[in-house]
């Protein structure tokens, strides 16, 4: 589905309008203070108002000319799956790596992404995933002595 730039702009404008309103309202809960003694809410309040005004201006502007036509949001059919999968992989990594251990999670992470996003052969996948896990472990935990979790399996 094709979209025009101005449609995108309108959505963005609404987003920033909400952001501005949120900060301005929140600022009132923490003291705004006076011009003599600006409080913690001072900047958020005025900045929030400023951004809301700008968002409104953007919105108005977008009702004007249509703007260039943009390609559809996801350029190709399978795109959204890849994007979603990669984000999910990141989130899952963050959740489980202190439980499973850094090395193992890395192995799974690299393996899954290599295999399923732009499918490579199993052989390649295994080689890459294993070497990534090993090298990363050696580099970060042994050489640099960063405190990365070893997980319940102990490595």
């Amino acid at each position: 589905m094709e979209r025009t730039q101005s449609q995108y702009d309108r959505v963005a404008a609404i987003f920033f309008l909400i952001v501005g309103a949120f900060f301005a309202l929140y600022a009132r809960a923490v003291e705004i203070g006076t011009w003599n003694e600006p409080g913690p809410g001072f900047l958020p309040f005025y900045a929030g108002i400023i951004i809301s005004i700008m968002a409104f201006a953007l919105f108005v502007k977008s009702r004007g000319k249509k703007g260039p036509v943009r390609p559809s949001f996801f350029p190709e059919a399978g795109s959204w799956k890849r994007v979603l999968a990669t984000f999910t992989a990141l989130i899952v990594y963050n959740f489980i790596f202190d439980y499973l251990g850094f090395a193992l999670t890395t192995f799974l992470f690299v393996g899954v992404l290599v295999k399923f996003i732009f499918p490579q052969s199993w052989a390649k996948t295994l080689i890459v995933a294993v070497s990534a896990a090993i090298i990363a472990r050696l580099l970060f935990i042994n050489f640099l002595e960063t405190q990365l979790p070893k997980g319940f399996l102990g490595f």
Partner: protein, 505 residues
Amino acid sequence: MDLLNHILLGAQVLFTPGNIFFCFIGVLMGTLVGVLPGLGPTAAIALLLPNTFHVSPVTAIIMLAGIYYGAMYGGSTTSILVNIPGEAASVITCLDGYQMALKGRAGAALGIAAFGSFIAGTISVIGLMLVAPPLAKFALAFGPPEYFSLMLMGIVILIYLASGSILKALMMAVFGLLIGTIGMDSISATQRLTFGLLELSDGVGLIPAIMGLFGVAEVIANVEQEIKREIIATKVKNLLPNLQDWKDSFWPMIRGGILGFFIGILPGPAPVISAFSSYAIEKKLSKHPEKFGTGMIQGVAGPESANNAATGGAFIPLFTLGIPANSVIAILLGAFMIHGIQPGPMLIDKYPDLFWGTIMSMYLGNVMLLVLNLPLIGLWVKVLKVPYPILFPLILLFCLVGVFSLNYSKVEVALMIGFGVFGYLARKFQFEMAPLVLALVIGPMMENNLRLSLVISQGSPWIFIEKPISAAFILVSLALLISPFIPWIGKRRRKLQEKVEGEQI
């Protein structure tokens, strides 16, 4: 003449096997640390500081200074190769440096970055030698109002030269300011938007934000497209910059060096501000400003020189006032004190061998960096040849580990992913990231200085105009903001904008 004697003294101090060795170690560790995204020079210095107790102060300072430069340079490498800035100052290098890499010109970019840093480093060393004391006085003239106006102007310059819509760039900048307020307010100890999470009391970290907006978002954006991009399949010719590159980069490097040096004198995030300003100036002076962002070498030469020169400039407040400009220099200050050296205005007179020895070591350090890194360029470029389907998980992995190892905080990793989502969407909606990042970096300082100024002036906003230096900055900012509306300037900008609209950022 006096200066020559000083140089000789410094050289004498420096060229002992011990000092040269430590200089080398410093530079090496610094580069290594700078290349790994997320780790920073403070880490390396903290690690190596205990080892300096057993050596003389001069040697210690030489090594620690070496780490500082090394890290600055290492950060540029990742910016160019994988579009992930090693630290805030390298963000600008990503813009054109990465594009150059995509076109097979990674070698040239890396080479120019190295040479530019070297030349700029030299300029700043010369500057240090010649003008340290009077410059320090200049820095003293900057108080809260001046700082605020300076930073404001910095943001406005960046916005003015945004390739897209000014309005949108402004919105991103203000958004960055707002995000910067998250955390514990430093003046009143009030928690703002931290949702009870201790990790957020320090505010949204800069590294998670940068890694998310530039690293994660970039990878995801790439993943969207089927790999018909044989990224660096084009043979990487010329590992070094060619003659044309040199001609193009010469003046940007000189300008960047001088600019960076002066900005570096002011305490604060000088390398970042210098890099951004240099980019803005180069774009302004260029005959093809619309090409910036697609791989113009001036966009790498200028900023890289600037941020290195700023590093040198940052030593000035240390040597002349005893005031550290940032936390890295502060550790050096601590090293001075441990060795019983009281920093302050009398330092140069009382300890000439320390001062001149350090200066010469900076020069040597720059040379070593060059020698060390050039052969490595070939190696780095090979890394790029790894097919993207295999490379990208590794890049993501580096991002994850890099962010986590900062503060051992999963919250920050989550933040990075969040920024990744936002960055990805921002690209789609044609919003630029650079104003957001700059605002995030200097926002907290801006706010502090704003509030301080208002307290000093008893609530009167006119203080920003009453003080001459501050007024100058404000004037420039206003001029830049209004100019699009003045017909003949506005038209030029609109033409610029139309050319660029419809292109990916």
